[in-house]
Each structure stands twice: as structure tokens, then as C-alpha cells.
């Protein structure tokens, strides 16, 4: 049954809205918050933008930095961020693609130094419109997708 936005509100922390369903868990992975603190996850709410619905993530008692929230743009560029303080929205934040991405994306090229020789995973933004990143090592350009997220 369809239901509109209603997840209980938090007093302090970060609310991430408009994540296309079913990427909420991947957003948690991008942020490296798998084993941290209290979170509320809402999956599959009605959304005009996303035909399959949207996910909402509420992270309690933690104000994410711009560096952290920008990583979300890699898989959910339309996501919006609200920083909550004392039960009120203290900051509405837009996200932009990070110019460089370390560790969290794997290079799809099996013959890349990051996969063969243990070089640290490192991508550089190539094209914002298509969300294309170039591997610092094998220098191949790739359109980012959720499958490239490293498994922990």
C-alpha cells in the first residue's frame, strides 16, 4: 500500500531524502556507517521523481560533513540532505559529485594495479553530466554504478 512520507522525526542528526529505491543500504555503505549509531531507514515511499519509490535515511546524533554527503551523489545525485539540530532543520544541503574518490569504488578493469598489485583505489571525476570517473592507475574512464561499491 502506498504511503507518503512519515518516519518519526529525530532531534539531532542528518536526514537523507530522495534516495531512489532500493539504494538506501548502499548509501549507508558509501558513508561507511554500517556499524555506527542509530539509524532509521524508510524504503519505498511515494515519489514523483522516482517511479520505483524513494528511500529515506535518518542518522541520529551525527552531523555528516560535506565531504561525506557529496559521496552520496555517486549513486543518488538527486538526494537531499537536511541537518537537524534541536528538532529543527538547521541546514538544507545540496550535494555535488566529489572531484576525487578514494577507497569506496572498485575499478572494473581486472588488469588494473588496484586489483592486481594492491594500489589504493582512486578515481578522478571526468564528466559530471554522465557521472564518469577515471581510474588514477589504469586510466580507464567508467560511468559509476552501484556495483562498483567495494564490498566490506
Amino acid at each position: 500500500m502506498a504511503r507518503t512520507y512519515k518516519v518519526y522525526s529525530i532531534e539531532d542528526g542528518t536526514v537523507i531524502d530522495h534516495i531512489p529505491t532500493p539504494l538506501a543500504l548502499k548509501v549507508i555503505r558509501i558513508l561507511g556507517l554500517e556499524n555506527e549509531g542509530i539509524m532509521t531507514i524508510g524504503i519505498g515511499f511515494n515519489s514523483e521523481k522516482h517511479p520505483r519509490g524513494k528511500d529515506i535515511l535518518k542518522i541520529e546524533n551525527r552531523e555528516l560533513s560535506h565531504e561525506e554527503t557529496n559521496k552520496i551523489a555517486l549513486i543518488a545525485p538527486d538526494a537531499t540532505i537536511n541537518i537537524i539540530k534541536n528538532g529543527k532543520v538547521a541546514e538544507k544541503r545540496q550535494i555535488t559529485l566529489p572531484s576525487e574518490v578514494r577507497d569506496i569504488l572498485s575499478c572494473p578493469n581486472p588488469n588494473c594495479a588496484t586489483n592486481k598489485l594492491g594500489a589504493r583505489k582512486h578515481f578522478v571525476l571526468e564528466n559530471k553530466g554522465t557521472v564518469t570517473y577515471r581510474c588514477r592507475y589504469c586510466e580507464r574512464a567508467t560511468v559509476v554504478n552501484a556495483d562498483m561499491l567495494t564490498k566490506k
Partner: protein, 307 residues
């Protein structure tokens, strides 16, 4: 003022327009004998994790000609690698024994990784299908030597444009100068989409054609030929057909214009008929020989022996 002292030569992507000019100009002075002995007291290590006798000898010759000394580990896998020493440890160790490290490795990005671990500059002598920057530098030098310029040229590239790293890097470098490019290849071996995209981003004029005849009216200054590898074709008959079409003969030269210069990174198989070798159009042997002054210049620049 461009300085290369202490810098690693990993990829053509790291090079600016002025960097490329600097290397070409320095190579010219080395070739003309204006600069010599600039590697005196310097030690160069060559670390080849896969064999490439041609490239290794070219580097070693370049070191000797510039007064330096060189030691090589021809097959590092057979020595320390098999004892379980990691690639990273090999680089850290060997870089302490030399003033510059020349590395060839089958893994893409190995040279970049080495440059981050090494205490001395690293020169990439080929990392898998990725980069072979000294080849691109010697190509640029050869073009400049033949035409006196690197801009406003019409350059055709023919053969395996899909997998050929040489033509990818050369197209990338030529894009910095404003040249017109014509890509001649079978449909299955066309220039990859992402390289064309990059050329678009830089407003480079180019076109792709399937037949040499279509290049007839292009008024090409240079035809850069690369080898089409048999392994790229599942069907041997298909390979024979393609190899027959993309072959340069005297007839081709007449068709494309007597002024055209033919280049090739060598070794060739039969994509250029031997009858071309003695014609003034053939500059591929000069091109190969230019590898020595080019590598001399690069070694001198990164070690501070030249500035």
C-alpha cells in the same frame, strides 16, 4: 618555465602542451650533439616485469650514450618476486640503488603506483594496454623533425585503433596542438568511444573511415600505421581479409599523395610492403632510431642532468 627535475614520466595525460614542446626541443639538441655527458655519475635501473628487448636496449643505449651507467633486472619475477617480495617492496628497495627507475609491467597502472613508492623518478616503459609515453614522445619528435611543426597537420591513423595504446596516446598528444585526424580501421577495431569523446571535448577535428580509398581526398601529411593482431579475430579467414585491405604499397602512396610520410611503431608484420622502405615516404626506421635521443633527453631531464 617547465622543469622535469625529479618528475616521473608515467602518462601522456600528465603532460601539458609546454611539457611536450620542452621534451621535443631537448631531444633535438641531444640528437644534434649539442648536449652530451649529462648522465655522468648517474645510475639508471631498468626493471622489466615482462620482456621487451627492443625497449630495454633502447633505454640502455640511451644511458651509455649520455655517460651514465645502467643495471637491469630483466626478469624480476624470477628473482625477488618468487620469494614473495611484493611489487611495492621491490620498488622501494631498487629505487634506493639508482637515480632513475625505468619500469615495464603487464599490469595497467603499475608505473603510476611505482612513481608513488619510489624515492627517485620513474619512467614508464609500458604498463599493459595503458601507456607507453616514451613512444609518444619519439613519435612527436619524429613528426616535428619531418615537418618542422606539431600543429596544422593532417594525420591519418590506420590499423588496430581499438586496442593500440600507441595511437590512443598519440591522438591525445596531437589534440593539444590543433591537428586534423583521420581514423582508418575495420569497424571492429575502431577508435574507442571514450577517446573520441575526449577529442570532442577538446574540439579536435576528426573523422573515421573504413577504407583507405576514403582517405584519398584527406590530403594527409602523415599516415601512422599500426599492426592488426591475429588474436583479435576469432575467424582466421576474417583476419586475412582485413590484413589484406589495410596494407600499404606503392600504389597506396600514389593514391594518398607523394608527399605523405609513413610512420609505424615497429615491429611490423606485413602491413607495410618492403618496397616502401627505400622510398622517401618511409620514416619508420628514423622514427625507431629517434627512440634513443628521446630517451636520452627524458633521462637527462628527470635526473636534473639537463634543464
Amino acid at each position: 618555465m617547465v622543469s622535469f627535475n625529479g618528475r616521473s614520466i608515467v602518462s601522456i595525460r600528465d603532460m601539458s602542451h609546454d611539457d611536450l614542446i620542452k621534451v621535443v626541443e631537448t631531444t633535438k639538441r641531444v640528437k644534434h650533439g649539442e648536449l652530451s655527458g649529462f648522465l655522468k655519475g648517474k645510475t639508471v635501473a631498468t626493471l622489466f616485469f615482462e620482456p621487451s628487448t627492443r625497449t630495454r636496449l633502447s633505454f640502455e643505449s640511451a644511458v651509455f650514450k649520455s655517460g651514465g651507467s645502467v643495471f637491469g633486472i630483466a626478469n624480476p619475477k624470477a628473482s625477488s618476486q618468487s620469494k614473495g617480495e611484493s611489487f611495492a617492496d621491490s620498488i622501494r628497495t631498487v629505487s634506493g640503488y639508482c637515480d632513475v627507475l625505468v619500469i615495464r609491467h603487464p599490469v595497467e597502472g603499475a608505473a603510476r603506483m611505482a612513481s608513488e613508492l619510489s624515492s627517485t623518478p620513474v619512467i614508464n616503459a609500458g604498463d599493459g594496454a595503458n601507456q607507453h609515453p616514451t613512444q609518444t614522445f619519439l613519435d612527436l619528435f619524429t613528426i616535428n623533425e619531418s615537418f618542422g611543426r606539431l600543429e596544422n597537420l593532417k594525420i591519418g591513423m590506420m590499423g588496430d585503433l581499438k586496442y593500440g595504446r600507441t595511437v590512443h596516446s598519440l591522438a591525445h598528444a596531437l589534440a593539444l596542438f590543433g591537428n586534423e585526424l583521420t581514423f582508418i580501421s575495420p569497424p571492429s577495431l575502431q577508435m574507442p568511444e571514450n577517446i573520441l569523446k575526449e577529442l570532442d571535448d577538446r574540439n579536435v577535428k576528426y573523422k573515421s573511415v573504413a577504407d583507405l580509398e576514403d582517405a584519398e581526398n584527406c590530403d594527409l601529411d602523415i599516415l601512422y600505421v599500426t599492426r592488426i593482431q591475429k588474436e583479435r579475430f576469432g575467424d582466421p579467414q576474417e583476419y586475412e581479409k582485413v590484413a589484406g585491405i589495410y596494407r600499404i604499397t606503392q600504389e597506396t602512396i600514389r593514391l594518398l599523395g607523394e608527399g605523405i610520410r609513413v610512420m609505424h611503431p615497429l615491429p611490423r608484420v606485413d602491413e607495410i610492403a618492403e618496397e616502401i622502405d627505400s622510398m622517401p615516404n618511409a620514416i619508420y626506421f628514423t622514427q625507431a632510431h629517434n627512440g634513443i635521443p628521446t630517451r636520452q633527453a627524458l633521462l637527462g631531464l628527470v635526473t636534473g642532468g639537463l634543464d
